[in-house]
């Protein structure tokens, strides 16, 4: 979707503000919000693409005003309410919490190290043919889906070159909506800065964007 999250190339955002010796967390609530992600992911309540899409659906003004872990909280609340895992009445403390089904997986502390060290790769070990080869010229499609996509707006309609074939991965556009993994090749596509931004861009500079096969068309 053409959301506020799709920031590449926007002007007017101001300077990049850095903080010397920044700690991993600034507040206790950030620690708690952060650690909810893995707990809920392991519980099977959402996947990372659903999570990103829930953030993308935020009110644009709130998205820009709120901090990173506030975005996460918005996604947790949105997804758990939408999926019926919790109710507004429970969250507001107006009714007693209904215990979850005993079959729901729960992340326990003795599982944390294994989960952290393994993660969940989106790579698929499946033979899927690649439509493009390294060196091919391609055009990023002009797509404007209302659902989730990982094709940034600044690349749409632009011509690039296949630089690397990363192999086969699940597709976020379908996974985010529970519509299956749709495995396909992901490529690093090299775009000249002049192609993306015009003739005034430095002639040697490039941007490499990881793009799914479906996002590209042959020239």
């Amino acid at each position: 979707m053409n959301g506020i999250h799709d920031l590449g190339g926007m002007h007017g955002m101001g300077a990049v503000i850095t903080e010397p010796n920044e700690p991993p967390f600034h507040h206790e609530w950030e620690r708690r919000a952060f650690s909810l992600f893995a707990s809920l992911f392991v519980g099977g309540h959402f996947n990372v693409d659903m999570f990103r899409h829930a953030i993308e659906r935020m009110n644009p003004a709130h998205y820009l005003e709120e901090s990173y872990y506030e975005h996460w909280m918005h996604a947790f609340e949105t997804l758990l309410l939408e999926k019926g895992v919790i109710t507004r009445e429970e969250l507001a403390g107006k009714v007693a919490a209904v215990p979850a089904s005993a079959e729901t997986p729960v992340l326990r502390s003795d599982m944390v190290q294994a989960v952290v060290n393994t993660g969940a790769s989106a790579r698929v070990n499946e033979e899927v043919s690649a439509r493009f080869r390294v060196g091919d010229q391609v055009r990023a499609k002009n797509l404007n889906p209302v659902g989730h996509t990982r094709l940034p707006r600044y690349a749409r309609g632009k011509i690039g070159t296949i630089e690397i074939d990363h192999g086969v991965f699940v597709t976020p556009d379908t996974v985010a909506h529970g519509l299956g993994e749709h495995p396909q090749h992901v490529y690093s596509v090299r775009f000249a800065a002049t192609e993306l931004w015009g003739a005034d861009a430095p002639p040697k500079d490039t941007v490499r964007i990881d793009l799914w096969d479906d996002y590209l068309e042959a020239l």
Partner: protein, 205 residues
């Protein structure tokens, strides 16, 4: 009333802190979330995983040409050799800075970042200014970080829109011949592995 600490009592807790507490309490009550697991996750990312991991990868690549070749050919596997793997580093790619190319990483659509090697991202990496500007005007952003790249050198921005996570292999500083991996690792900053910095010079740290 006993008053043995000096913080302000009249200011209410921030709304977001209350929201987090309400959600955590509800999920614990429903039996969906184990607070001990949350504590273990926090401890892991606050104390055990950080840019020191990535610095060890870089120092080994600077010291061992065979390792560097493996690292550039299959980042995931070579990084796992040193024990770093997992969440947000499931599939890794390492890109090398040279006199001709300066690499820098971003996630314009969210804030993807290689957690096992760099830890959790700093606030600026997740901020709108960085994500908006680094792809369209990398030279001005890098200048704000004190990094000047000549016009004859390519700036190569990697937008990690998929599930590959990127780590920049900075150039090894001159004057470090014969240094141990531990000594070299002390020169490798987080920003050098994002590309918004370069490795420290000997004697500067």
């Amino acid at each position: 009333m006993a008053h043995d600490h000096d913080h302000e009592h009249t200011e209410p807790p921030a709304e977001i802190a209350l929201r987090v507490k309400a959600l955590e309490s509800l999920l614990v009550e429903k039996g969906l979330v184990d607070p001990a697991a949350m504590d273990a996750l926090i401890d892991t990312y606050e104390h055990r995983i950080g840019p020191r991991n990535g610095a060890r990868v870089v120092a080994k690549a600077w010291s061992d040409p065979d390792y560097k070749a493996r690292l550039l050919a299959d980042g995931t596997q070579a990084i796992a050799e040193l024990g770093f793997s997992g969440v947000q580093g499931e599939d890794m790619m390492v890109v090398e800075n040279t006199p001709e190319v300066h690499n820098v990483t971003v996630c314009t659509l969210c804030s993807c970042y290689p957690w096992p090697t760099l830890g959790l991202p700093p606030a600026w990496y997740k901020s709108a200014p960085y994500r908006a500007r680094i792809v369209i005007d990398p030279r001005s952003v890098l200048a704000e970080f004190g990094v000047t790249i000549g016009a004859d050198r390519e700036i190569r921005v990697w937008d990690s829109s998929a599930e590959l996570r990127y780590l920049v292999l900075p150039e090894r500083p001159a004057g470090t011949e014969g240094w141990s991996e531990d000594q070299l690792a002390d020169l490798v900053t987080r920003d050098a592995m994002i590309g918004t910095g370069v490795a420290l010079q000997p004697g500067s740290n």
